[in-house]
Structure formats: structure tokens, C-alpha cells
């Protein structure tokens, strides 16, 4: 990090603008995969980037400028480019389009420097260590059942250093996360069915040691997907595995409490603060400090400290999560959830580690309590609908349960739908242990990918399936 040079640039910007801050990022990430397609070992564009984003306020409006290189010789050029962004304000004015006027930001002074412990830094080991582990996982999967067409075994890691500087804040941290995953694929006719399983941590390559644990179940799941039925649409008693619970927490509810959506009048949740939105068994958290997982950090991409936000407390919606600029518009405090896909992108309100707390019921009791219903397993994807709290989540399989026993019949694929509070209020049982996983990336709508984790316990609820 060129901290001296950054300070030199910022001194000039502070003379010129009412407010100026900079986020410098040095982010390196790699992806590995072993499959029938071959062996891939590559730095990833999505996981890597090295550059700066400046945010300024001219006494009236905000503007940002992202750039890749800072030297003694290009400081004046960068300042000219920052000024040039404001050309658009003049052009908009000529077209009769207004710009939102904001107060000048006021920040409490903070200085913080940290580095998470990196026991197994993948950057310091030979790539063969990771590739060989993935090869072994793949070979074991292929040996388990001859109907397995392929096992795509993969791993990713990211190590980032971020440095934030404004007049009152100087923050720096270094973070590592790593994930491992596999798709077990089996073929029936022209169709290829696959079962996905992932693992994540902040300790580096030790995550790969866990991958064998779920391998046999994943192979079994892929084979079971070769013989499935189509479900009759309707509402059923369901038990969700922790990763399906996590998808519901994240997609169905979490996106709805991102407060940039409150500011835009795009979230129904704004009308439900202080009201019951879920069964009183439900307590939901989000925050960079709510768990130690892939989305844990000391400060967000706007220099706000990370927090543990209790969103739902025993069924009552308490508060949302917020980035700095939306918080200014809404006149509330930011919660440390202003995140950028990279230094090249705008910051939005984004989730971090999102989960439901555990309950008191055993999984066996939950299954025994079902007269006719399903165990929903293997979350695949979901989409938010904060305006109307509609659910769109997909899972790979629903295992039929009759009179508290699995029948062995499997339905696939399964679309969850309905109204979010109806589902959350219908939760009657929760298992004790919350399990989190940070296998994927979260988009805002259809873009802006950031690393998140989500999870929860097993839950029992009434859910519309189709």
C-alpha cells in the first residue's frame, strides 16, 4: 500500500472538496478445479483487483472515481478526473434532471489496523497441495459409484488488504477466506443431474480436509436425483436443512431489510419495524461481527466498523442494515454493510453473515412430527423480492416423509414460493445448532457479486412448493 502517496493525494482533495475519502484495495484470489474438463489453477478476475476508489462531496452532491494506478506523477491527473465526474451534474442540469443534495458527511474519528490469523495461508503453499487434495476427492467420488459421470472438485481463496482514509478515519486490515466444493454429476439419458456441496472458513487450506466428510452423501444424492418425481404444487409441512434455512434467511428476508431499498421505497419491511414478522422462535442476525466466516471484517468499504445487527428478535422486526449514503438519506446510523464488488464499483447495502439462531428441538422429533411432508435439501438458487416479500428459492430435492418416516421417494426440482412472513410465522420447530456456510456470492438484483455466508438450524415450517 502506497500510504504516503495516498495521503499526499488526499491532502490535495481535502483542500478542494468538503469531504473526500479513499479506499485502496489489494485483492488476490485464485480458483482451482479438477474435473473431466481438466485441471484449472488460475487467479480469478472476480476475486482479484488492485486499485483505488475516491468518494468526494462538493458541498452539494456525491461523486466517485475509480482508478488503477497512483504515482508521484499522476496525482494532478487523478484530481482532474475526479473534477470531470461532476461534468455530468452540469449536463444533467441542462436536461432538467436534478441531482440529490446531501449534507457533508460527518464521521467519528477512528484508527484501526488488523490482520486475521492465517494458519494455512494458501498463498504460501505450493499449488500442488491444493490440486492434489482436489484430485483425491474427485477420485474417491468416482470410485464410490460407477453411475457418477464426473465430480467437479473446486477450491477458491481470497486474501485482501484494504486501506481506508478520510480526514477523521484511517483503517487497514488484511483478511483471508477459503472455500472448497464439489458437484457430483450423474447422467440419465440426455440429462445430467448434479448434487452440490460446499465448505468455507477463514483459516485457509484446512477447509479442504473437511471435504471428504460429506462426499458419500453427495454421491448418494446425485444418484438419487436420477429417479425423481414431479411434485404436485401445494402447501406442505417441510423441514429445511441448514443450508436451505440459510437461503431463506438470506434471499427471502435478508434482502428485504437492506435499507438502500427503504430509501428507494422498494422494501415492504419499512412498514413492519417493531411488528411481528416471524414465529417468536425466530431470531435473525446479520453482520460482519455476527460470526467468523467469509464475510467477517473490521470495517466496510465506506470506513464504517462492522457490527452484529439483530434484525428479528423473537419474531419482531427490530431494524435493517445500511450503507453510509443511504443512512444519510434516511437519517439513521450506518451498520457497516456498505460493500463494493470491487474498487471499480459503487457501494450498496449488502448482507454479510446472515443466519437464524438455533432452537431446542431435535431433528428426530421434527421428522417424527410430520404426517405428510418433505425434507428440503440442497439449496440451488434464490432471488429477492423486497417490495412484495415474495419467495423465489429453488432446492434440488424434496425427500418425502409419511407418518414420521422417509419413504425413499424424491421430488425434483423444487421451487419454493409464497409470502415471506407467512413462511416465517409458520415455523414451529428449530434444531439447536446453527450451521453457516459461505460457499457462494450474493448479487444485488442481477449483478454486484460479494462474498457472503448464511445458515441456520433445521427448521419446520409450512411452505408452498411447486
Amino acid at each position: 500500500m502506497k500510504e504516503k502517496l495516498i495521503k499526499k493525494l488526499m491532502e490535495k482533495l481535502w483542500e478542494r472538496y468538503e469531504y473526500a475519502s479513499i479506499l485502496a484495495s489489494d485483492v488476490r484470489g485464485k480458483r482451482y478445479s479438477v474435473s473431466k474438463r481438466g485441471v484449472a489453477c488460475a487467479m480469478s478476475g472476480l476475486l482479484s483487483g488492485c486499485g483505488y476508489v475516491i468518494k468526494v462531496h462538493n458541498g452539494h452532491a456525491f461523486a466517485e472515481y475509480s482508478f488503477g494506478e497512483l504515482t508521484e506523477n499522476n496525482i494532478e491527473e487523478i484530481i482532474t478526473e475526479v473534477d470531470r465526474v461532476y461534468e455530468m451534474e452540469e449536463l444533467l442540469d441542462k436536461e432538467g434532471i436534478e441531482v440529490v443534495s446531501y449534507d457533508v458527511p460527518k464521521e467519528e474519528p477512528i484508527r484501526s489496523f488488523s490482520e486475521n490469523e492465517m494458519h494455512g495461508n494458501p498463498d504460501e503453499c505450493d499449488d500442488s497441495v491444493i490440486v492434489d487434495k482436489l484430485r483425491a476427492v474427485r477420485e474417491h467420488a468416482l470410485a464410490m459409484d460407477e453411475r457418477v459421470l464426473d465430480c467437479q472438485a473446486g477450491a477458491q481463496y481470497q486474501i485482501y488488504t484494504k486501506y481506508f482514509l478520510s480526514k477523521s478515519r484511517e483503517l487497514k486490515e488484511k483478511v483471508l477466506w477459503m472455500t472448497g466444493n464439489y458437484f457430483i454429476m450423474a447422467k440419465s439419458g440426455e440429462a445430467v443431474r448434479s448434487y452440490y456441496k460446499a465448505y468455507s472458513n477463514r483459516d485457509g487450506i484446512s477447509v479442504l480436509d473437511k471435504m471428504e466428510d460429506g462426499l458419500a452423501d453427495a454421491v448418494k444424492g446425485a444418484i438419487e436425483l436420477l429417479d425423481t418425481k414431479t411434485i404436485k404444487p401445494g402447501e406442505y409441512d417441510c423441514i429445511c436443512t441448514p443450508e436451505v434455512t440459510g437461503m431463506i434467511a438470506h434471499e427471502a428476508f435478508g434482502h428485504g431489510v437492506e435499507m438502500d431499498m427503504f430509501y428507494k421505497d422498494r422494501a415492504l419491511a419499512v412498514n413492519y419495524i417493531g411488528k411481528q414478522v416471524a414465529s417468536e422462535l425466530v431470531t435473525m442476525h446479520d453482520g460482519a461481527k455476527s460470526a467468523i466466516e467469509v464475510a467477517s471484517y473490521d470495517f466496510d468499504d465506506e470506513g464504517t466498523p462492522g457490527q452484529d445487527t439483530v434484525i428479528i428478535d423473537h419474531g419482531i422486526l427490530k431494524k435493517g442494515i445500511c450503507d453510509t449514503q443511504s443512512a444519510m438519506a434516511l437519517k439513521v446510523a450506518p451498520t457497516g454493510n456498505g460493500r463494493r464488488e470491487s474498487y471499480e464499483r459503487k457501494a450498496y447495502t449488502r448482507m454479510t453473515n446472515t443466519f437464524f439462531e438455533g432452537g431446542k428441538d431435535s431433528l428426530d422429533d421434527m421428522i417424527a412430527s410430520i404426517k405428510y411432508g418433505f425434507l428440503l435439501e440442497n439449496a440451488t438458487c434464490g432471488m429477492e423480492d423486497p417490495k412484495n416479500w415474495g419467495i423465489q428459492c429453488m432446492v434440488n430435492m424434496a425427500r418425502e416423509i409419511v407418518d414420521g418416516q422417509f419413504t425413499g421417494v424424491i421430488y425434483s426440482p423444487i421451487v419454493l414460493s409464497g409470502y415471506v412472513p407467512d413462511l416465517l410465522k409458520s415455523i414451529t420447530m428449530m434444531s439447536p445448532v446453527t450451521e453457516l456456510c459461505g460457499s457462494g456470492f450474493c448479487g444485488k438484483g442481477y449483478k454486484e457479486w460479494v462474498k457472503v455466508s448464511d445458515g441456520g438450524p433445521y427448521i419446520k415450517a409450512r411452505i408452498k412448493l411447486g
Binding site: 481438466g38 404436485k232 414460493s417
Partner: protein, 415 residues
């Protein structure tokens, strides 16, 4: 940066490589209601360097490759360290050997006209808001990105090509509170040229749709008995099933059994797909010249696409990878809109799995047509499988034209 990197590669005696250098400039506007909430500019640059290494393993000739991202902020020493480690790692990627794309070594210069990105972003904003004149529905928020990517691709086998690609992308949300129902729809757009008229029309159409969503009633729970009609960009996402399965990276590992001359659906009773793949940029990321190709004609596969490695493994010429589709099928709107049907106008998130053929999702607006009546409906999901759907599909005469997909605006899938 390319010159700096070539010098390091020479000093490391690395003789097989591809350098993809990209400069990304943008002007970006973010609107809340009718006001600009944030203005952004961007000028960044990076290099994706692919290192190749030829070696023998257990009697097999291999070509390992590793990607490294290099940034203008890095000094030569950092670059050299990363390159050294990556070149060693190429030995672990024991993939079958193939030849790198070849070029003449002569560099072609930028062919495109250069526009002011700030002016383009503001012009498109003006065009969008020209449609925002309805009392019952309005633009809730919008994002506009005027982009310019300048690309230079060189490799150790004589490829040396450059191009400039300008485009305008974005999304907008429309909202209505008709009949006390507060609802929204999200629309995305992408144009290679700043097409102000197309964006204005798209916004007008979205405003009408969101008013329909506001008055929509709950759809019946089981829609499986109705023929399904897909619309607009979803038709492109539906047909992406074919482009993905025609990709050499699907065929080589056996995930797809497509080959040239194969009939994708011999027992089709309806229209047989005729699809072209369209070049979005003049060169692939490996420097292979891209052009438009016939992918499928009347149900018969004519071309497979893919990168150099997988194309080489299949023994076909590499034409690069493609995502853009033009569908040449044309039927009649009367056939597509024959009662009864459920026409989904807006999905929350349409999903098509090219591996197992499943597609569908929850919809926010659909039109249910039966007994001479069209009813806007909402809040249900549809789920089908392409291996069945392709046996009986009919395309419309009415067309749709955006960067990612052009062709019939509707496709009907019988039960």
C-alpha cells in the same frame, strides 16, 4: 503494460503465453426516483496473462496453463514473483496438448469511433425519463453505465489484435400503486450503440406492465395444464440451452452429446429451432477472430463453438465462445396466442439448467388467457423441462431486438 510483461517473460525464458490487456472506462449514473443520487467515473486497467507449459507426463504430451492477473500498480519484482510461481504451477495442470491460436503478427488498429461517456450516460438518462409521464406508474430508480473497453491481445504465436468496444448497459425499476397495490418490476438493458429510442420504448412497455401487475390477481396454484408462452429476453435465456450444449467445454467431458449433424429433437411436432450465434466483440479472449455463425438450422446442429483447448480436443476449428443469440424462427402470433395459455411477462429470476434441461421460476406478472378473457396474474411459479418442451414449441412473428438476444418475441410451449 504489455511491453513490461513481455520483457519479464523473456527474462524468465517463457516462450508460450497470451496477454489480454484491458482498459475499462465508464461514466455511471445512479437515480432514485427522478434525481441522480450518485455520479461515478472509472478508468482502470489490468492484464490477464496466461502462461502455457509443455511437458510429458506418463508418456502423454501435456500443455498446462495458468492465469495470472497483473495490475499497473505492481512493480516488476512483484510481477516476476507471481509469474515464476504460476509457471511452476502450470506443471500441475496436466491437460492434453493443443496448439495456441496463430496470428500474422501484424497489429490491427482500433476501428471504432470514440464518444464522450459522460454525454452518452446523460443522453440515455434523458431518453429513459422521457417515458416517465404516466400518473399511475413511474420510474422508482435506475442505473446507467456508459462503457468503453479497450482490449489488446497478444500471444507467443503471432496473435496481436486490438479493439475498442463501447456499450450502454443498465437497469431500471418501475413502480405502481394502482388499486392500492404497491408493486414494482425490474428491467435490464444493453445496447452496443446508445439507442435512446429503444430505451424509451422499453421503459414505456415496462410502465404498462407494472400497472398490469398492480391489478393482477393471484394465479391458480397448478398451471401445468396450460400451454406456456415465454416473452422477450426470456426467450433468449430459454434458447441459451442450445448455445451451452453446443459449447465444446460441455461436449468434451460428456455433459452434452451434441455434435454437428445431430437433430436436437427428432420427434419435434412444432417448430424446429434455427439459431445463429452472434459475435459481441471482434476477437475472443484468446485472439481468435469472431464472426456470426449458424448454430442450429431447422433442428440440425451446424456449428460447435468453444475455446482453443476444448475445440482442439474435439478436433474442430475454434471460433471462440458465444453468448449472443439470434433466433431465425418465425411463426404466427395467432398460433402462439391460441387460447388457452399462460404468458409469463416477468419472472423474478428465470432459471435454465442446460445440464438437466429444467427451466422456470416464480413470476411477478403473467397473463392467463382462457374463455376469451385475458387476466393479469401474479405470485406463482412455472417449472418445465427442455427435453420435453422442445418437442412442441411455436415461435411468434413479432420480434424482439436487444444486444443479448434478437428473434421472435414469444415462444409457445405446449403442455
Amino acid at each position: 503494460m504489455t511491453d513490461r510483461i513481455v520483457k519479464i517473460l523473456q527474462s524468465e525464458k517463457i516462450d508460450k503465453y497470451c496477454i489480454y490487456e484491458e482498459r475499462r472506462e465508464s461514466a455511471e449514473l445512479f437515480f432514485v426516483k427522478k434525481k441522480a443520487d450518485l455520479m461515478r467515473g472509472k478508468d482502470t486497467r489490468d492484464v490477464k496473462l496466461t502462461l502455457y507449459r509443455e511437458f510429458n507426463k506418463e508418456g502423454k504430451l501435456c500443455l498446462g496453463s495458468v492465469d495470472v492477473f497483473l495490475y499497473s500498480e505492481m512493480d516488476d519484482e512483484t510481477m516476476q514473483k507471481l509469474i515464476r510461481k504460476a509457471y511452476k504451477s502450470a506443471l500441475y495442470a496436466d491437460n492434453p496438448y493443443y496448439e495456441l491460436p496463430a496470428g500474422s503478427g501484424e497489429c490491427e488498429d482500433y476501428p471504432d469511433e470514440i464518444r464522450s461517456l459522460n454525454i452518452t450516460a446523460v443522453k440515455m438518462a434523458k431518453a429513459l425519463y422521457l417515458a416517465d409521464i404516466d400518473e399511475d406508474a413511474w420510474i422508482n430508480s435506475a442505473e446507467i453505465f456508459a462503457l468503453r473497453n479497450t482490449v489488446h491481445i497478444t500471444n507467443s504465436n503471432g496473435v496481436d489484435v486490438k479493439y475498442v468496444k463501447e456499450s450502454v448497459k443498465g437497469e431500471f425499476v418501475v413502480q405502481s400503486r394502482l388499486k392500492g397495490n404497491d408493486v414494482e418490476l425490474i428491467k435490464q438493458f444493453e445496447y452496443d450503440r446508445p439507442d435512446e429510442e429503444a430505451l424509451r420504448r422499453k421503459c414505456e412497455d415496462a410502465i404498462q406492465s407494472v400497472k398490469d401487475r398492480a391489478i393482477a390477481v393471484k394465479a391458480p396454484e397448478d398451471l401445468s395444464t396450460y400451454p406456456l408462452v415465454l416473452c422477450d429476453e426470456t426467450v433468449g435465456e430459454f434458447l441459451a440451452f442450445y448455445t451451452e450444449r453446443c459449447n465444446a467445454s460441455y461436449i468434451y467431458p460428456g455433459y452434452s452429446d451434441y455434435e454437428c449433424g445431430k437433430d436436437v429433437c427428432p420427434d419435434a411436432a412444432g417448430d424446429k429451432a434455427s439459431i445463429d450465434i452472434i459475435a459481441d466483440v471482434p476477437y475472443s479472449s484468446e485472439g481468435i477472430e469472431k464472426d456470426d455463425h449458424t448454430l442450429i438450422e431447422n433442428g440440425i446442429i451446424k456449428t460447435l463453438h468453444g475455446n482453443q483447448a476444448y475445440s482442439s480436443y474435439l478436433g474442430i476449428e475454434s471460433i471462440g465462445e458465444y453468448n449472443r443469440i439470434r433466433c431465425n424462427n418465425r411463426g404466427t402470433d395467432e398460433e402462439v396466442l391460441k387460447e388457452p395459455y399462460i404468458m409469463v411477462k416477468s419472472f423474478s429470476d428465470f432459471q435454465m439448467d442446460a445440464m438437466d434441461g429444467s427451466f422456470g421460476g416464480e413470476f411477478r406478472l403473467a397473463y392467463l388467457c382462457e374463455n376469451g378473457k385475458v387476466t393479469p396474474v401474479t405470485g406463482q411459479s412455472v417449472s418445465k423441462n427442455m427435453f420435453d418442451a422442445q418437442k412442441n414449441m411455436i415461435f411468434s412473428a413479432t420480434g424482439y431486438n436487444e444486444a443479448a438476444y434478437s428473434g421472435p418475441a414469444m415462444v409457445r410451449i405446449e403442455r
